[in-house]
């Protein structure tokens, strides 16, 4: 697929805006909100591997997100360095993702969702009740953020740039995988599992590797969350975190690269910015989701692309004196 000139311009402008964000935003609070958007976008992109490209809806991903955070926090509390703590945390998260996969890939659809939900709840129970290990409801504090190559991440600007680099790396890796033969195989298992097996594909193993990829990036997002808050508690392992991540993916648009990012921005802005002005922000968020599902069931990004194409079509037809009667069909995947 060749990249069109408007798309290149849009990417360059977006990159420029992201790189210069601390300069034009100024207020550290909003820079921190931007950091949150970026690491939750990484989490949503990770979940999107399964939900969007694999057709496997997980409601237990908060467990993977938190396993990384808890493992790193426990190792740091025991005096290990950041590099060791983070490496081990990611390894443990990928191992946990493998256990998730072995247990949950026995089913698809509702069965898969229920198994992931159950595993997530078990991990929540461990975080909440195994107080001798996790410190229970009190959580675990992390004394300081790392300073890789002497670069300080203590301030809002430094941490934002760390999040930006990780986010761009995640986005690039997702793009590469989605466009690869493995990505095509994964989408094939989503659309026609039976046919894929008949064509020679090992459906289970394809889904297993997709789960590991999703687990790895969920762990990376979990580490950023830990360092952002310098604290982790059972709250982050709860079902609401998994549900929010799923809403980010669905509201933005599954099986797109930009959709989960837009969904993450929507949820984080509602929670951190709108909540300052509207007491019942949860209700507003709920209404927004209902509107999205009602009018853009494919999600904000593909839905906007569809409306944009319809508006352009209508404008052209209007110029030639014929009005377009109906919007075009919902946009397919492979878009932004």
């Amino acid at each position: 697929m060749e990249v069109s000139t408007p798309r290149v311009i849009a990417i360059v402008v977006a990159l420029l805006l992201l790189v210069t964000l601390p300069a034009w935003v100024g207020n550290p609070y909003y820079i921190n909100v931007a950091s949150q958007i970026l690491f939750f976008a990484v989490f949503a992109l990770a979940l999107n591997v399964l939900v969007g490209y694999g057709g496997l809806v997980s409601l237990g991903h908060a467990g993977l997100f938190a396993v990384a955070g808890y493992t790193a926090a426990l190792l740091l509390a025991r005096g290990h360095g950041h590099l060791v703590a983070d490496t081990v945390a990611l390894a443990v998260t990928v191992l946990t993702a493998a256990i998730y996969a072995v247990l949950s890939l026995r089913a698809t659809g509702i069965g898969f969702l229920m198994i992931t939900l159950a595993i997530g709840q078990i991990l929540w129970g461990v975080a909440y009740r195994w107080a001798s290990l996790t410190n229970g409801d009190n959580g675990i504090n992390v004394a300081a953020r790392p300073a890789p190559f002497g670069l300080s991440l203590a301030g809002a600007d430094g941490f934002y740039y760390l999040c930006l680099v990780v986010f761009l790396a995640c986005l690039a890796s997702m793009r590469m995988v989605v466009r690869s033969p493995f990505g095509a195989s994964l989408r094939g298992t989503r659309d026609q599992e039976r046919r894929m097996a008949a064509l020679g594909y090992d459906v289970w193993t394809i889904r297993f590797w997709a789960f590991l990829l999703s687990g790895f990036w969920s762990g990376v997002a979990g580490l950023l969350f830990l360092y952002y808050n310098q604290f982790i508690s059972p709250q982050i392992v709860a079902l609401t975190t998994s549900a929010e991540a799923l809403l980010m993916v669905i509201s933005g648009g599954t099986a797109t690269l930009l959709g989960p990012v837009v969904g993450a921005a929507l949820v984080v802005i509602m929670k951190n910015v709108v909540s300052a002005y509207i007491v019942r922000w949860n209700m507003v968020l709920g209404i927004i989701f209902i509107l999205i599902v009602s009018f853009m069931p494919e999600g904000l990004v593909p839905g906007s692309a569809r409306l944009w194409a319809w508006a352009r079509h209508r404008l052209r037809r209007g110029k030639s004196g014929v009005a377009a009667a109906t919007p075009p069909a919902a946009a397919g995947e492979g878009g932004p």
């Binding site: 590469m176 466009r179 690869s180 493995f182 039976r194 894929m196 064509l199 020679g200 594909y201 397919g332």
Partner: protein
Amino acid sequence: MIALRVEGLEKAFDGLRVTRRVDLAVAAGERRLIIGPNGAGKTTLFNLITGEIAPDAGTIALFDTDITRKPVRARAHLGMARTYQIITLFGRDTLRHNVVLALLGLSRRRWNPLIDLARQHDLTEQADAALARVGLRHLAHRPLAETSYGERRRVEIAMALAQNPRVLLLDEPFAGLSIDERQDVNRLLLSIPRDVTVVMIEHNMDVALAFADKITLLHFGQVIVEGTRAEVVADPRTREVYLGH
């Protein structure tokens, strides 16, 4: 040389025996037609042969290799391809992508997450060649959802042929086609080289009988008549259970 050998195959669902001690020996290069009334167990037999259903008893061999316990995907790698009675393709994708998926299925590249599929020009060329073989090269870029039923049938066959199978199982390839489309598909099937063994289930006797070297008649999961066209058509049991008089 026997391409496909089935011996004593048995299958029951909740006590209902849908396949009863079926024996089948299809010679290499043969065109075998499997006929029978609705519910005779034809598609179940295909699903047993391809591994989508596990048999209760019996063995299946592909060119003398026992494949009875092999998973579906392994049978594809051993040279077995099939089409489905109900078309199962990738509607969101182009015709070319559908065929590329068939090619990737037998390629080690299917595991590669680091290369761009769109830049695998050899796969694209092979896919286009397979589409040309079924007369659809000019529609390679078109999404499958925007094609006719007959064109989708041909895409199914193109996907199966793209895998260079040794044994091709066709489940009602003429189902739902217009007279013109039937002729297209018939020409296509007649053009399949003899190094490919073809086993076909079909209700449309006009085209199917002309295609077959040998015919197997199934009834209530059992083989009741087997032989050449003339032998099967002349057999009174065929008239009784299939032709209705």
